[in-house]
Amino acid sequence: MGDRRGGGANGRLALLGRLIDDEPAVDGSLGVTAGRLERLCTVLARVLPASGAGVSVFTEGRIEGGTAATWGPDSRAIEELQHSLGEGPCIDAFTSRRPVLEPDLLGRGIQRWPAYGPAAHAYGVGAVFALPLQVGGARLGALGIYRAEPGPLAALTFSQAITFAEIAVGLLIDGQDADGGTVSGVDDLVAYRAEVYQAQGMVMVDLGVTLSEAMARLRGFAYSDGRPLSDVAHDVLAGILQLNRDTL
């Protein structure tokens, strides 16, 4: 069942982050965040492997969303199907706040999504897996993973997919700020420290902003201060540090 220690997950996060940083951009016209997300999809498809991948972003409280980045043949069209049809794995993952794993798109997938299922299958998709891009109560979007062959994701592959989703969350959060760090600079996302989450809630109240913006401010402060996020969170909890609108 894989490496039990935190080092394994953090090691993988750093490794995949470096692969994404080193990946040459395909479409130079994309913005910073969209470009990084596209490279993430490219690396994901190669590493897992998958025939395609896409990131969709949604506005909190609504299922209308848009495609932020994709990789793979027809993957933008496949990702867009969900937005035009109003149903599909990414929408379900976003609304249910859980992964949606459908290894048999032509079978159960069609019962689940009567419009999306056949349409995606027409593009050669046999299995779809969607992961919510979220941290607790903060939701940003969903990561869609497409395979031509039906069949489940192996446990290790799922674990890798979760790491890609965590990196995508970091990119989307940092994208709210003008300039985040590099992908491999993403830190502490798998630390799951209670203190980091508690600090996010505190900063949300201190600044009167949304939870995802509070996460962006905390991460931005940690980057600019050159300190681990867990240190900054500790200071917020201890009352040593209180972010205000002038802190950044």
Binding site: M1, R4, G6, A9, G136, A194, Q198, Q200, G201, L211
Partner: protein, 257 residues
Amino acid sequence: MPVFACGRDRTMIAVEQLAEVFVEIADTLVDDFDVIEFLQLVTSRSASICNASSAGLLLADAHGQLQFMAASQESVKLLELFQLQNAEGPCLDCFHTGTAVVNTDLDDAIERWPVFAPRAVSAGFRSVHAFPLRHRKDVIGALNLFGTETGQLESHDVRIIQALADVATIGLMQERVIQDQKIVTEQLQGALNSRITIEQAKGALARSHGISVDAAFELMRDYARRNHHHLSDVALAVVSDPAVHPELLSGRPTPPV
């Protein structure tokens, strides 16, 4: 109630008490139940049924890291002991081997767990037990019991606590869909994210009211109980749509959604 470790001074757990606990737990497994509340009930009943002073439950995430989910009482001190077990401790051992770790005297466990054991001792504990949450061949987490006295769990007690751990697994998997591995994965991920939301809401409430995160948890739990809401739903509203529960966040301007 006097606090002492499982099995000490007694021969067995009272049958009547046991029956009540299982009925109470079964009653919570309705269609629309809150996973975190359910696990909290399992931990608090596990602690009381064998007179352990504290109990907690950890689940493995997709990376195989053990994440804290629920405890008989929520305190920063106790949370640290659970969080620490990502690196070492009875839950990690139990998770690796799939077998229960019982009757460990913490004073004798310094070599085995050089960081965890001294911390647990300084938190006032003398004994520790951990029981696996088993789903087929996999171990998905562990139930952790702490006692303030050293003590011996009888084999009879061990079977009962293991049964409680098995009930926790069944609740997590919602028995009717237990055959499907992909649904197991989906459920676990959903439960793990609910716990993160609770921590975020603790922080928000602590700041809104100028209280500790432990007190913030009590406030949120009591509010949920009083108003017959699920704890996870209240926590989610606190961080995503605070206007839903204005009285819970009173006294401060509510953040925009």
